[in-house]
C-alpha cells in the first residue's frame, strides 16, 4: 500500500526513478532534501504498484537514472567536420555500433593529438531497451513530465567535477543498493569506461574483499586497453561508509601502480544535504541527491518521451507570461490612471483660472465698442487694404512716359499699345521662365521696385520717304530716349521698320517709296 502526501509546492518538487536489473526505486526531492523513497520489484506486481504510485502522486517532473550491466561504451573517431556532414557521420557510426537501441548518447571528447586530428567521440548506449521501456510506458500513460534519462556513469561524470583534486586517471568505485558495485574510469575527468558487478546481499559478507578483487580486474583491463600509461599510477577513489573504508585500510592490500583514496559517503552526502546521515555503504542517496539538486541534462530520452516536460514548461511559461502581463498592465494602467487624475486636477485648475480671467476680460471689454472681429484682426484687414492700395495699378505712368518720349519724334505715330501689370519684368518674353538667363536689355537698376508695368507698342513713321537707315536710327533714338527715363526698367526693340538681320528673307522694290515703316517696342517701367 502506497500512501502519499500531496505537496503544495509542486512547482519546485522533483523526483527520480532509479532503475536497476532487480529493483526500481523512486526518490523525492523536497525543499532541498531527499524525501520519501519507494521501492518496486521488477515484475508485474511491482509495475502495478508503480502505476498506483503514479496515480496517487503529483505529476512532478521525473528523471530516470539507470544502473545496469547492459550499457556499452565505445571510443570512436570521426573526421573533423561540421554541420550536416558531422551529423550524418555520427548517425552512421551510431547505427553501425548500436543498431537495436534508441538510447544512445554521444560525447565529444576533444581531438586526437596526432595524424589528421580527428574528433574523438564516446558512444554510450543502453543496449537493452526493455529495462527502461515498461516504466517509461507507465510514465507516459500518466503524462508525468520526464526530464531525462541518465546512467550512473554519466551522473558520476558530473559528480566528480564537484570533488577536489581528482587525478587525470581516476577510477571511481561506488556501491548501489539495488544494482551493485560500479567502477567508472575517467581520463582527465572524461568518462571512458564503466563496469558493473554484482555484490552479495548487504549484511551477509564484507564488501572489502569484493572491492579489492574487482579493482584488480579492472586495472588489468585498463592496462590492456592502454588507457593508463605504464609509468603512471591509477588513482582509485572508493566511496563507501566508514566501516567499509576502515576495513579496506586494515587489509592494506597494495596493488602495483595503484593509489587508493577512501571517501566517506556520509561526508560527501553532507556536502549536498545538510544533516543527512546514512549508515549503509551505498551511494544511492549521494548520487540521487546530486542528480536532483544539480538537474543534469538529459542523455538518453527522446524528444517524444520528454514531450510532457516540454508542455509543462510551456504551461509554466504561459502562466508566468499571464501573471507578467497582468502585472505590467496593472502597473501601466495604474500609472496612466494616476496621470489622468493629475491631468484632471490641472485641467480643473486651468478651467477655473480661465473663468476667472474671462470675467475680468469681459468687464474690461465692456468699455470697448463691440466689433465684428477681434481687434487684432481689424488691424490685419486695414493693413491688407493698405497693401492692396500700394499695388493698385493704372496705365497712367506708362502712357505719360511714352507720351513724353514721342513728343520728341512727331513723325512717329502710335498704332496700338498692350499694357499689363506684373511683378515679373520678363512677363511674356522667352526668358520669363528661365531666370538663369539675364534679360536682353537692362537699362536701370531696379531697387525698391514694387511692380512693373509692361507695354508692347506698335507704331509707324509718317511721313516715310523710304529711307530705312534714317527710320532705324529714329527707332533707336526713341528707344534710347525712353530708356533714359528714371522709371524705365528696360526698352526692347521687338521689330525694326526693316528686318536686316541675317536670318530674315528680304525683298522689295528699290524705286518704291510708299512702303510703311512699322516697328514695335517693349517698354518696362518699374513703379516704386
Amino acid at each position: 500500500m502506497i500512501s502519499l502526501q500531496k505537496s503544495n509546492s509542486e512547482f519546485f518538487n522533483r523526483r527520480a526513478l532509479f532503475i536497476s536489473a532487480d529493483k526500481v526505486s523512486v526518490y523525492h526531492w523536497d525543499k532541498g532534501q531527499l524525501g520519501t523513497t519507494y521501492l518496486f520489484d521488477i515484475d508485474a506486481a511491482g509495475r502495478d504498484n508503480f502505476e498506483r504510485y503514479l496515480t496517487e502522486s503529483e505529476k512532478t517532473p521525473m528523471t530516470i537514472l539507470v544502473d545496469v550491466i547492459e550499457e556499452e561504451f565505445r571510443q570512436e573517431t570521426i573526421p573533423h567536420v561540421f554541420g550536416s556532414d558531422r551529423t550524418s557521420l555520427i548517425a552512421r557510426k551510431q547505427s553501425r555500433l548500436f543498431r537495436d537501441t534508441q538510447y544512445v548518447h554521444v560525447q565529444n571528447q576533444g581531438r586526437e593529438e596526432e595524424g589528421r586530428r580527428d574528433d574523438s567521440l564516446l558512444f554510450i548506449a543502453l543496449t537493452n531497451e526493455e529495462i527502461v521501456k515498461p516504466w517509461l510506458e507507465l510514465i507516459d500513460k500518466y503524462k508525468v513530465p520526464l526530464k531525462g534519462i541518465l546512467s550512473v556513469p554519466l551522473l558520476l561524470q558530473s559528480y566528480i567535477k564537484t570533488l577536489p583534486e581528482i587525478s587525470d586517471h581516476a577510477l571511481i568505485v561506488t556501491m548501489q543498493s539495488i544494482s551493485g558495485l560500479r567502477q567508472t574510469f575517467f581520463q582527465k575527468k572524461e568518462l571512458k569506461i564503466s563496469r558493473l558487478s554484482k555484490l552479495p546481499r548487504y549484511g551477509t559478507d564484507s564488501y572489502a574483499p569484493k572491492i579489492e578483487s574487482e579493482v584488480e580486474k579492472i586495472q588489468r583491463y585498463l592496462n590492456s586497453l592502454r588507457l593508463v600509461p605504464n609509468d603512471i599510477s591509477l588513482d582509485v577513489y572508493v566511496i563507501a561508509d566508514k566501516l567499509t573504508l576502515d576495513e579496506l585500510e586494515k587489509r592494506a592490500i597494495s596493488l602495483p601502480m595503484v593509489k587508493k583514496h577512501y571517501l566517506d559517503v556520509n561526508l560527501l552526502l553532507g556536502a549536498i544535504q545538510k544533516d543527512a546521515v546514512q549508515t549503509v555503504p551505498f551511494s544511492d542517496q549521494l548520487l540521487l541527491s546530486h542528480l536532483l539538486k544539480v538537474q543534469i541534462k538529459n542523455c538518453y530520452a527522446s524528444s517524444h518521451e520528454m514531450r510532457y516536460m516540454k508542455m509543462r514548461n510551456i504551461r509554466h511559461y504561459m502562466n508566468a507570461a499571464s501573471v507578467a502581463l497582468l502585472f505590467f498592465s496593472f502597473i501601466y494602467s495604474g500609472l496612466n490612471f494616476m496621470g489622468g487624475l493629475t491631468y484632471k486636477q490641472e485641467s480643473e485648475a486651468a478651467k477655473n483660472k480661465a473663468a476667472f480671467y474671462q470675467v475680468r476680460y469681459d468687464l474690461a471689454r465692456e468699455r470697448l465698442p463691440k466689433t465684428p472681429v477681434e481687434p487684432a484682426q481689424i488691424k490685419v484687414a486695414v493693413d491688407a487694404v493698405a497693401t492692396l492700395e500700394e499695388y493698385k495699378a493704372t496705365p497712367y505712368e506708362m502712357l505719360t512716359s511714352i507720351g513724353k518720349g514721342l513728343e520728341q519724334y512727331p513723325q512717329i505715330k502710335l498704332d496700338d499699345i498692350d499694357w499689363s501689370f506684373s511683378l515679373d519684368p520678363n512677363k511674356g518674353t522667352a526668358i520669363e521662365d528661365n531666370y538663369n538667363n539675364p534679360p536682353a536689355e537692362v537699362m536701370t537698376d531696379d531697387k525698391k521696385v514694387k511692380y512693373y508695368q509692361i507695354s508692347n507698342l506698335n507704331a509707324h513713321i509718317e511721313p516715310f520717304d523710304g529711307d530705312y537707315r534714317e527710320a532705324i536710327a529714329m527707332v533707336n533714338e526713341l528707344a534710347e530716349t525712353l530708356g533714359n527715363f528714371d522709371s524705365t526698367h528696360s526698352v526692347t526693340i521687338e521689330s525694326f521698320p526693316l528686318d536686316i538681320s541675317s536670318k530674315a528673307t528680304l525683298q522689295g522694290n528699290a524705286q518704291a517709296t510708299n512702303k510703311a515703316a512699322l516697328f514695335s517696342l517693349r517698354v518696362v517701367i518699374g513703379v516704386n
Binding site: 508542455m311 480643473e348 480671467y357 476680460y361 492692396l388
Partner: protein, 208 residues
C-alpha cells in the same frame, strides 16, 4: 519544433485560456487607461490653451483698446465703402455710368464676371480673411487717352470699393485725330479687378 501529435491540448488548454483572459484584461486595462489618460490630457491641454488665451487677452486688453482706437474707424469706413464685407456692384455700375456721362465718352460698355478668390502675387498678410475679386471688362471709346484717366479719377472718387487694373489695350482709330466729341479716336479694352475682403470662415461681416 513540436509535432502536432506531441501536443496534448488538455494540458495546455487551461493556461491558454488563462493567458487569453489575461490578455483581454490587460488589453482592456491598457486601452482603457490609455484612453482615460489621453482624453483627460486633451481636456487639460484645451483648458490650458483657453486659460492662456484668455489671460493673454486680458493682459492685452489695453493693447486692444489702442488697436480699436487706431484702426476701427478705418475698418468701419472700409466696410461702408464695400472693401470689407459685401461688394457693391450697383454702386460701381452707377459710378461708371455717371463717369461716362460726365466725361462725355463716345462709348462705354462693361461686363462683370462672378466673384472668385483672389490670390495676389505680391506679399500681403490677410491671415484670417479671404480676398475675393470680381473681374470687370471695360470697352471704351475715347476722344484721347486722358479720358481714361478722367474715368479712373472719377471712379476713385465715387465708386465704393478697391480695384486694380490688370491689363489694357489701346488702339488708334484712323491715322488722323478728329475733334468731334462723339468720335472715338482711341479704343481701349481694360480688365479691372474689384477686390473685397471677407472672413476666412465664410461668415458675413456685419457692423451696426
Amino acid at each position: 519544433m513540436e509535432k502536432q501529435s506531441d501536443i496534448d491540448w488538455n494540458i495546455l488548454k487551461g493556461p491558454l485560456i488563462v493567458f487569453c483572459v489575461c490578455l483581454i484584461i490587460a488589453s482592456a486595462l491598457i486601452g482603457g487607461s490609455y484612453y482615460f489618460n489621453s482624453s483627460l490630457n486633451q481636456e487639460f491641454k484645451n483648458n490650458k490653451s483657453i486659460f492662456q488665451s484668455i489671460s493673454q487677452r486680458y493682459l492685452d486688453v489695453d493693447q486692444e483698446e489702442k488697436l480699436l482706437r487706431d484702426y476701427y474707424p478705418k475698418f468701419v469706413e472700409l466696410y461702408n465703402h464695400g472693401v470689407i464685407g459685401r461688394e457693391k456692384r450697383l454702386n460701381w455700375i452707377e459710378a461708371l455710368r455717371q463717369g461716362g456721362e460726365n466725361i462725355v465718352l463716345p462709348s462705354l460698355t462693361y461686363s462683370i464676371n462672378s466673384q472668385e478668390e483672389h490670390i495676389p502675387d505680391y506679399e500681403i498678410n490677410y491671415n484670417g480673411y479671404v480676398l475675393y475679386r470680381s473681374s470687370m471688362e471695360l470697352d471704351l471709346g475715347m476722344l484721347h487717352e486722358g479720358d481714361l484717366f478722367k474715368l479712373i479719377d472719377y471712379m476713385n472718387k465715387s465708386a465704393d470699393g478697391i480695384y486694380t487694373l490688370s491689363e489694357c489695350t489701346f488702339r488708334m482709330n484712323g491715322t488722323k485725330v478728329q475733334f468731334d466729341k462723339d468720335h472715338a479716336n482711341i479704343s481701349a479694352s481694360c480688365l479691372l479687378y474689384w477686390i473685397t475682403i471677407g472672413l476666412a470662415g465664410g461668415q458675413e461681416i456685419k457692423i451696426g
